[in-house]
């Protein structure tokens, strides 16, 4: 077990959030069972009041969860100072088998909570609260996933042995080895950035012609493609090292904390993109495309800058 103020703070806050979420969970259950907007009895009246509690709690949770996610990453980065052999957060994530599923689930939950908030806003935009049942159902799901997340987080921190040696990012994200990731990293560069720009062009097309469903699907696809190409190609230009494949080092000070910006922009871009498929609103479409455009410009900047400086490509 790691006893560390950052770790304890993470666990403490997540537990607090889960406890609050429990209240919202119970109300969501009640809504699912008894909600009927056409009725006017005391029960409906009470439920209509209670859903405001759910939305207040959910908003509180989301805003803290965004902060906590960044804090979690920061904690991992901090732990890389304590654990032997870790250079950045990768080694820390890898220090326990719970690390990767935990990180994955955290990201999923962030998307889901954000989606819940938007659904909630859309719900209030209609006089008859049409999405109330849907959002209650979604909340149940999110609550369960959140519970699993917290369980994983406890297990993860309990599992890390502060004395053991962990691997550094060079080992985890290397081209050799038999993992899927290694296989992907072995793909030729042209294929990596080719697929990235091709996907972006398709997104742009879907944006111009307002093809909501396609746009949403492409944005979902954009998440893995952007991440792989960031690790495999664009990242190497940020580090200016052809062998450095790491999604975490770019969160560090040496690279101007660019990672925090890239991931935030990517998150909002893909989030609004998927949202536009659900609600078919130009508003979301425009917001999404602006974010993804910024992301694409940002990652493209590094190779171009390198070429302008050195007159040749990195490899």
């Amino acid at each position: 077990m790691l006893v560390n103020p950052f770790v304890i703070a993470n666990l403490l806050l997540e537990s607090l959030l889960l406890a609050l979420a429990f209240i919202a969970f119970v109300v969501s259950l009640q809504v699912l069972m008894w909600w009927d907007f056409s009725k006017n009895d005391t029960l409906q009246y009470r439920l209509q009041k209670r859903i405001y509690l759910v939305s207040t709690i959910a908003k509180y949770i989301l805003s803290l969860k965004i902060a906590l996610f960044l804090f979690f990453i920061y904690t991992l980065d901090h732990l890389s100072l304590v654990l032997h052999g870790a250079m950045c957060a990768v080694g820390v994530v890898d220090a326990s088998s719970y690390g990767k599923p935990l990180l994955f689930l955290k990201i999923i939950n962030l998307y889901l909570f954000a989606f819940w908030i938007v659904l909630n806003e859309e719900d209030y935009r209609h006089a008859e609260l049409p999405y109330t049942k849907l959002k209650s159902f979604l909340f149940l799901t999110v609550y369960l996933l959140f519970g699993i997340e917290l369980f994983l987080e406890y297990s993860y921190f309990a599992d890390i042995d502060p004395m053991s040696l962990v691997s550094c990012c060079g080992a985890v994200f290397s081209k050799s080895g038999e993992t899927v990731l290694a296989a992907l990293l072995q793909l030729p560069n042209s294929l990596l950035y080719g697929s990235f720009y091709a996907l972006f062009l398709m997104l742009a097309g879907a944006f111009v012609f307002r093809l909501y469903a396609f746009y949403a699907a492409f944005s979902a696809l954009f998440i893995p493609v952007a991440l792989f190409t960031l690790i495999g190609y664009f990242g190497t230009y940020i580090y200016e090292l052809p062998t450095h494949h790491c999604p975490f080092c770019l969160l560090q000070k040496e690279y101007g904390y660019i990672g925090y910006i890239l991931y935030t922009v990517l998150f909002f871009g893909t989030f609004y993109g998927m949202l536009s498929g659900f609600f078919r609103k130009q508003n979301y479409l425009k917001r999404s495309f602006s974010f993804l455009l910024i992301y694409t410009l940002l990652v493209s900047f590094y190779p171009l800058w390198y070429y302008m400086q050195n007159g040749k490509w990195l490899y």
Binding site: N40, D41, T42, Y45, Y52, Y124, H126, A127, E128, L129
Partner: protein, 222 residues
């Protein structure tokens, strides 16, 4: 226009059902001035709160300005009040420890207008009710008449089409009550719909009152 269709409102208190309104049907035309009288507990205030979408009927429909307000979510009900309803309470219900300006600001807050327009609107009602020089004064130091003008100004600042007044003259001396009535008359001339719930006899034989409705035990007497 205000229309109530077979409206009932029940409260449950200590496992006992209290019927505040029982199948009330009522139609009030735009520009009409209606006085509702009746004994204490006859359901006057309940009726007004239903018309203002502050409460929902247990059964029946309430339609105001073509909106079925008995079917609105809270956000929409609030937006409806903001646009259409001006409420004048017994004893004014002003925020005593705040300034006149802040009191007038209150109904504008949910609109989140640009600062300039907000100030503009407040200035306009301040002038209309002759309280400009009191704008920064705390309400509690104002005289009774000034307080009344602030209360009326507050309820009219969003230019509502329906004005609801609950016992507006209950604690007023004769002069202030007269002044209030003259304000109502002015509103009537502007084609506002006005509903006054009161047992003050002063209202029963005014020339501009179109109808006096009597309530008893939650029912409208015909």
């Amino acid at each position: 226009m205000i229309e109530l269709k077979d409206v009932s409102k029940k409260f449950v208190q200590q496992n006992r059902e209290i019927v505040a309104l029982e199948s009330v049907s009522l139609k009030i035309q735009t520009g009409e001035v209606v006085v509702i009288k009746g004994r204490s507990g006859s359901g006057k205030s309940t009726l007004l709160s239903l018309m203002a979408a502050l409460a929902k009927p247990t059964s029946g429909e309430v339609i105001v300005q073509n909106e079925r307000i008995s079917r609105l979510s809270d956000d929409f009900a609030a937006a409806f009040r903001l646009r259409h309803i001006g409420f004048i309470f017994q004893r004014y219900n002003l925020f005593e420890q705040m300034s006149v300006f802040e009191n007038l600001l209150a109904p504008l807050v949910p609109l989140n207008l640009p600062a300039k327009e907000t100030k503009e609107r407040i200035k306009r009602v301040l002038e209309r009710f002759f309280i400009e020089e009191k704008a920064e004064a705390k309400v509690r130091v104002l005289s009774g008449g000034e307080q009344q003008r602030v209360a009326i100004a507050r309820s009219l600042i969003n230019d509502p089409s329906v004005i609801l007044a609950d016992e507006p003259t209950a604690n007023l001396d004769a002069a202030l009550a007269k002044e209030f009535i003259s304000v109502l008359k002015g509103l009537k001339d502007k084609k506002r719909t006005i509903v006054v719930a009161t047992h003050d006899p002063l209202f029963f034989n005014l020339d501009f009152v179109d109808r006096v409705i009597e309530m008893e035990g939650g029912r409208v007497c015909l």
